[in-house]
Amino acid sequence: MNVRVVILAALAAVLGAAAAAGAETIAITGATVYPVSGPKIPNGTVVIRDGRIIAVGANVAIPAGARRIDARGKIVTPGFINAQTQLGLVEVGGERSTRNSSGRGLVNADFRPWEGFFSGSAYIASAREDGVTTVGIFPTGGLVAGQAAAMDLADGTAAEMVRKAPVGVVATIQTGPRFTSDVDENTAGDANTANGGELSAPPASRADALAALRELLADARFYATRHDKYDAGALRGLIASARALDALLPVVQGREPLIVEANRVDDIDAMVRFARAERIRLVIAGGAEAWKIAPRIAAAHVAVLTGAMNNIPETFDRLNQRQENAAILRRAGVEVALVGNEGGGADEETFNVRNVKYEAGNAVAYGMSHDDALRAVTLAPATILGIADRVGSLAPGKDANVVVWSGDPFEFSTSVEHVFVRGREYRDRSRQDQLIERYRKLPRTNN
């Protein structure tokens, strides 16, 4: 058997397995179904076939031969989406060798972190068994960290797990230690760009950061029509590499959002004005003090990624951080995706990507409606990440990322009973489950 035959055979086996998993027809019956894109359906049915949802409703004919899951008394929702994580980019935070979230410079718009995603992460299974089926992965470091992506928590290689990439370019208006840990904040600005040439030190202040972002977009537009001159060495100095400026083109053309980490109300307001002036799409990440200008953010159609578990004046950028932030924004009409903002082990960390459901529970405890909170971990992040045509809601034709819960998805007492990603049911046990099983009964001997 020659090499090509072996490869073809292996490919056939993989495709066959995928087809077999996807080909199964499943009918989840009797549940309270939350499609999110429409009102809840008591005693509803969801039918999955070939990896897709083919029917959702109260009076749905169940195809012959379908595997039935009796979900009476249960709740069915779209798979949850944690829109801002480091899953697969950072496995063990304290170990540099397992960190793959950063590009090498200050403007890394061309950095594509999903290409370094770790499909063997132990936290894929633990997030999935807690009802998370898609995550946003965000690069970190620099003024422009790189491009974000959406990954489905399905079996496969990094490339196979990509739901959509890129989904936007990530930048920050914050200064100081938020840049990479390798850059001494005291040197910020000492060697900043002068008279053209690449940005060589972090912005020295927030206004300097804003100026640098402005110049970046200007140079991206400038360079877009002058590739020939650049190649001929006849172009003035640019603030970033040609590759980075190329990667910003979808942002200046409005095809992808600029996702900017900003927390102080003035910074958020400045970014909203900046986005209007530059005619770009904007998403605010962090957004600690966004509640103060919620109506203006809503009017500008700017989405916000924020959490509901932090009320600490942690820095002078976040003095008015409060747990009601997400609820106030939502009531004003802002598209809000709930992500971890607690620090100290919350769902912004790889280990607890799974806990985004508790972010939603806390959002409800601090004023958000249950329906809005459910949207904020399903359809809202799907919309912000540009994948709402495929996931984030339960409707015929959508990819079958579906979860069956024993009760209210946001409660500690609730368990995930079934989880489907791209139509396949996952029953694998996480590394943590295996550890519990191993030590649940301690050995009788003293070794």
Binding site: E91, P313, G361, A365, I436, Y439
Partner: protein, 479 residues
């Protein structure tokens, strides 16, 4: 008079006027007032004596009213849940708890708690509030004296900033007592401070009267990372470092015990590092050891036998479930997170059932925060741990889980005779919850410290705001 004004008045009293009653109960420092033989009489600061208390508590309870909370579901941490029960608070103490305790005529405040829960105040034995206050900045980085692997000489209370805005937020989460520890950079980090979560101008006015000090020690990756260049840089180096310190402390203790018994001649030189460690060897100070891995905890247990001290509590204890039987046999408290891990190699094996598995093996299990945000939701953390334990097949009830955040941590501090459960005669540290405390939707509605209502979710204007927040924070804890 507003509660805040009263509170401030009480603080002033404590600082300038009142002799703190509670200090009477403290063990007196046996200062060498009457030397047995002629010789130099050293000043009190020059001698090293057991139970010395040179920075005493000036805490005085805030004014309280005779209060009855009735029709509540009461998790007492001392017995089965009481449905439709009442708690009577009088003179800052719990006067009665039960299903039928009547309604005394002299009540000032009656709270109808239909549909609500009452629990003891939460005790968090692992916090850095005040030592790493908000806003987090270099000027506020007072939690790790990372200048020597052994800094048993430092005292966490000397770093505590009473105006840390994280204190009122912890109180709003139902935490009434906490232990502030030095960080884990060092093998031996220094003394802890056991504090009441109350508004105060000085840390002395927050100190829990009569509470023992703790000694923070740390295993594993943190010290070996911090001292990689000059050592210890390995786990075996860590162990050698602790052992050398205990050997020195044993000699110091012996010399001082002899001098304290005779007062003959010049006292030995006083050494703050050795003094704290000698107190740990005497059992007057509790050893609180940050340790993640099961195998390291087992090594530390052997070391405690080698030198004849007790480990009062292992902190973080990510792998405690692997040696829960050993920890139970040794009578060591284990304090854990519900579900934080993975951030370094020694935290890799974190499981949500850890607390339940440790409890099931018969060891005293507790929750801890080690975090200014997590400290506000320890009830939620216990909820997570309780349901994870149930999923692992353990028969955990709310009556057991409530102990993880109340009486068990109180025991770890040696304060279980005063706080941690709802029983007659105990301090009235009480939380009224607006629902099941193990639900994600529930808030602490009212928090009493020694019977005084210090947090009321329904009365945000009266709630404690630190000096820092004035003019900076316009959205303090509010409904």
């Amino acid at each position: 008079m507003s509660r805040l004004v009263r509170a401030l008045a009480a603080v002033s009293m404590a600082a300038f006027v009142a002799l703190p009653l509670a200090s009477v109960a403290q063990q007196p420092a046996p200062a060498p007032a009457a030397p047995a033989s002629p010789g130099p009489t050293p000043g009190p600061g020059a001698v090293s004596v057991p139970f010395a208390d040179p920075y005493p508590s000036t805490y005085v309870p805030f004014a309280s009213q005779a209060t009855l909370i009735r029709n509540a579901t009461i998790l007492t941490a001392a017995g089965p849940t009481i449905r439709n029960g009442s708690v009577l608070i009088r003179n800052g103490k719990i006067a009665a708890v039960g299903a039928n305790i009547g309604t005394p005529a002299d009540l000032v405040l009656v709270i109808d708690a239909r549909g609500k829960y009452v629990t003891p105040g939460i005790v968090d034995i692992h916090s850095h509030l005040g030592d790493y206050p908000a806003p987090g900045m270099q000027a506020h980085s007072d939690g790790n004296e990372a200048t020597n692997p052994n800094t048993a000489n430092v005292w966490a209370e000397h770093s505590v900033w009473p105006q840390d805005p994280q204190f009122p937020r912890a109180l709003a989460g139902g935490v009434t007592t906490l232990q502030v520890l030095p960080g884990s950079a060092n093998l031996i980090g220094g003394r802890s401070a056991v504090l009441k979560v109350v508004p105060a101008r000085t840390v002395q006015a927050m100190k829990f009267p009569g509470a023992r000090y703790g000694l923070k020690m740390a295993c594993g990756e943190n010290p070996k990372r911090v001292y990689a260049q000059r050592g210890p840089s390995t786990r075996m180096g860590n162990m050698a470092g602790y052992r050398a310190a205990w050997i020195a402390a044993e000699g110091y203790k012996r010399r001082w015990d002899a001098w304290n018994a005779s007062h003959k001649g010049d006292p030995p030189p006083r050494d703050l590092t050795m003094e704290t460690m000698a107190e740990a060897l005497r059992g007057d100070i509790y050893v609180h050891m940050h340790c993640y891995r099961a195998d390291e905890m087992a090594q530390v247990i052997d070391m405690s036998h080698e030198f004849g001290y007790k480990v009062r509590a292992f902190h973080h204890a990510i792998e405690a479930y692997k040696i829960a039987d050993l920890l139970a046999k040794e009578g060591i408290v284990v304090t854990m997170w519900a579900d934080w891990g993975g951030f370094k190699m020694e935290a890799l094996d974190s499981v949500r059932a850890n607390i339940g598995l440790v409890d099931a093996a018969g060891a005293r299990a507790t929750i801890h925060s080690d975090d200014p945000s997590g400290i506000q939701r320890l009830n939620q953390e216990v909820g997570k741990a309780m349901f994870a334990a149930k999923r692992a097949g353990l028969p955990v009830t709310e009556d057991v889980a409530i102990k993880w955040m109340t009486i068990n941590p109180a025991y770890a501090l040696g304060l279980d005779d005063r706080i941690g459960s709802l029983e007659s005669g105990k301090n009235a540290d009480i939380v009224l919850w607006d629902g099941d405390p193990f639900s994600v939707y529930t808030h602490a509605e009212k928090v009493f410290v020694d019977g005084a209502l210090l947090f009321d979710r329904d009365d945000p204007k009266q709630n404690w705001r630190t000096d820092f927040e004035l003019g900076y924070v316009r959205s303090a804890v509010r409904k």
